[in-house]
């Protein structure tokens, strides 16, 4: 029988979301091959308002299930509830609204944002207990806040000191500028935490240009192929990376297909680990074909 799954994800506006788009499309092809009657519609939206519109448009096309990775969860709750209210199967990926219960969704596949910060924080606390750290944040939206909170929790009570935090907008160029200024401002920096591999690219260039040797290492996040490669190759500046895989959207899509076809009870919450990628396990997470 024919079924339709609508997939609503953020537009590819930086590396990680590009990965999301890549994996969503990849899994869509796989699922459609696997289930002949199945139609998977993947739609991208740049901001919450547009995404709310996209949900309406998907619904117009008569979907049976919705997989959504919200650009910003809270503003989308009402729109998601609309879909859910019509009896569709709803999976939310990665970003949870403040009231994340069964009235909103059936399935929640989560990357773990607080853990992403926490793992990074713990690594720093353990390996350089008295480190002076500068932080480059993403955009001022809740996921960013969750990562910061996780990080702060991890280093609370230790001698690790955060010198400064500024927004780098998950953008290489902005991260480059912010890092240049951090380097001017602080004569001694031990560690940079920039919670995103895209921004790490800019940070590394800024450090290289300044020829500063006091910085011991940089911790990014998400697991882009370039950074994983550096970890694999034993780059001293990038000793580890914290995984936050964009492929989680694929996981959610597979679980959703299973739910509507096989009536497998997949309700509930699936939280993916924020795995610490080290030189030893790096090759498991290296996908050279992905755009991210």
């Amino acid at each position: 029988d024919t079924k339709t799954i609508g997939v609503s994800i953020p537009a590819a506006d930086h590396g990680w979301t590009a990965g999301v788009v890549y994996h969503a499309n990849r899994v869509a092809q796989l699922l459609m091959k696997e289930h002949p009657g199945l139609k998977v519609i993947v739609k991208t939206s740049p901001d919450p308002a547009t995404q709310a519109n996209a949900l309406q448009d998907l619904e117009i096309q008569g979907i049976d299930a919705l997989v959504i990775l919200p650009t910003d969860p809270d503003p989308l709750v009402n729109a998601i509830k609309e879909v859910k209210g019509k009896g569709k199967f709803v999976s939310i990926v990665d970003r949870a609204p403040s009231s994340n219960d069964t009235s909103v969704r059936d399935l929640y596949v989560a990357g773990n944002n607080p853990a992403l910060g926490q793992v990074a924080g713990e690594y720093i606390r353990k390996n350089s207990p008295e480190a002076q750290v500068v932080v480059i944040r993403g955009l001022p939206i809740p996921i960013d806040q969750q990562r910061q909170d996780g990080f702060d929790k991890a280093i609370a009570g230790s001698k690790v000191k955060v010198l400064d935090r500024q927004f780098g907008n998950w953008n290489r160029d902005d991260a480059f500028k912010v890092m240049q200024d951090f380097l001017t401002k602080y004569p001694k920096i031990d560690v940079v935490w920039c919670q995103d591999d895209d921004m790490a690219v800019g940070v590394l260039q800024a450090i290289e240009q300044a020829k500063r040797t006091d910085i011991k290492y940089v911790i990014g996040g998400a697991g882009s192929k370039d950074m994983i490669k550096k970890v694999m190759d034993g780059d001293k500046m990038i000793p580890v990376d914290v995984l936050y895989p964009p492929s989680m959207v694929g996981t959610a899509m597979e679980l959703t297909a299973a739910a509507i076809y096989d009536q497998i009870p997949v309700h509930g919450t699936y939280t993916l680990d924020a795995t610490l990628v080290t030189k030893d396990n790096a090759k498991n997470y290296y996908f050279p074909d992905s755009p991210f």
């Binding site: 537009a11 590819a12 788009v21 519609i41 993947v42 739609k43 991208t44 901001d47 919450p48 308002a49 547009t50 709310a52 519109n53 996209a54 309406q56 448009d57 998907l58 117009i60 096309q61 008569g62 650009t71 910003d72 969860p73 809270d74 503003p75 989308l76 709750v77 009402n78 729109a79 403040s98 944040r137 955009l139 001022p140 939206i141 809740p142 960013d144 806040q145 910061q148």
Partner: protein, 336 residues
């Protein structure tokens, strides 16, 4: 030494009417064309639900663009409207979350009044900086854009601001999702706002002054028009329209963040221009603006409903369609 013969006068009138009509009709023709394309792309497109959806969600941009029509007609420009939406909406939700008024109905009413006041004040600030400060509106409102956006970020401490009371939320929800005699509330609001705006622009002294100021500041001044006041009021009207858009926005998503309303200013300005108002200032076309806002929203909708466009290319196609819409408009106008 002529006095026009009657018949000559009549011919003339007919000609110029045709002329005026076609120019005003052009955006509507582009809209019609788009609807036809949409119907071809996906049969679901032409359903009442879908068209109502599109009209409803164009409400924010449409209402903001009505305000922008005033600002642009008077020869200015306001780039801050997008961040003003975020700022005003944040304050509205924060006020409702503050719980200073126990009764939900009263609270909602107070919050709505507050929103309108704040919107007007933001507009006033833009107007004063531009006129009294004598700064190019482009730069002045780029500055306030940064300010409103920054304040929103600060208010939300980088996160989201969400309406907490579910009672209030339930009470307020119909303002976006409800309908009156089958007509969704937002569409009703668009119509009312536009009708009032058209009345002000075409049928009042102030509206005439706006056009005069936009066509020539000097002529306006030598005609005894308080140019700066007219310009400032246009900015206040813009602020009011933003506030009205916020009144519809908050019940829809129930929450705001620092990214709310990003790039809406460009969309609003595009709607105004696609609707036939010239950016130079002068004649404003309010109904055209609404039509422009629908066109923008339709383009996105058609793109989403069509399944053969790579999602990576959506931006490119959207851009092309705007250009094509303008070309259609031009060619229609030229034929007139």
């Amino acid at each position: 030494m002529s006095i026009n013969s009657g018949s000559e006068g009549a011919t003339i009138r007919r000609r110029s009417w045709r002329d005026v009509d076609l120019r005003a009709v052009a955006p509507f023709a582009a809209l019609a064309l788009l609807i036809v394309i949409g119907a071809l792309v996906n049969p679901n497109f032409i359903s009442i639900t879908n068209l109502a959806n599109v009209a409803t969600r164009s409400a924010f941009i449409a209402i903001i663009a009505v305000g922008a029509t005033f600002v642009i007609s008077s020869g200015d420009l306001d780039l801050s409207v997008g961040s003003m939406v975020a700022f005003v909406a944040s304050l509205m939700i924060l006020f409702m979350n503050s719980g200073v008024i126990a009764d939900p109905g009263l609270m909602l009413a107070a919050a709505m009044v507050l929103t309108v006041v704040i919107g007007s004040l933001c507009g006033l600030a833009n107007g004063l900086i531009t006129t009294v400060g004598r700064i190019e509106p482009f730069i002045a409102t780029l500055g306030t854009m940064g300010i409103y956006r920054g304040l929103t970020t600060w208010l939300s401490q980088g996160g989201a601001i969400t309406l907490r009371s579910s009672e209030l939320q339930g009470l307020y929800r119909p303002a976006y999702f409800g309908s009156v005699f089958g007509l969704p509330v937002p569409i009703l609001v668009i119509l009312i706002v536009t009708a009032i705006a058209a009345f002000i622009l075409y049928r009042t002294r102030y509206g005439r002054h706006v056009t005069a100021v936009g066509s020539s500041r000097d002529v306006a001044r030598y005609s005894g028009i308080a140019v700066n006041r007219v310009r400032t009021i246009a900015f206040i009207i813009q602020g009011l329209c933003v506030a009205i858009a916020v009144l519809l926005y908050v019940p829809r998503l129930g929450s705001t963040s620092a990214t709310t309303g990003i790039l809406w200013e460009l969309q609003a300005i595009t709607a105004v221009v696609v609707g036939g108002t010239a950016l130079k200032g002068g004649a404003g076309r309010v109904w055209g603006t609404i039509c422009g806002a629908f066109i923008l929203e339709l383009v996105g909708n058609i793109m989403l409903l069509s399944n053969f466009i790579s999602e990576y290319l959506i931006g490119a196609i959207q851009g092309s369609i705007i250009i094509i819409a303008m070309l259609v408009q031009r060619s229609l106008t030229r034929k007139a």
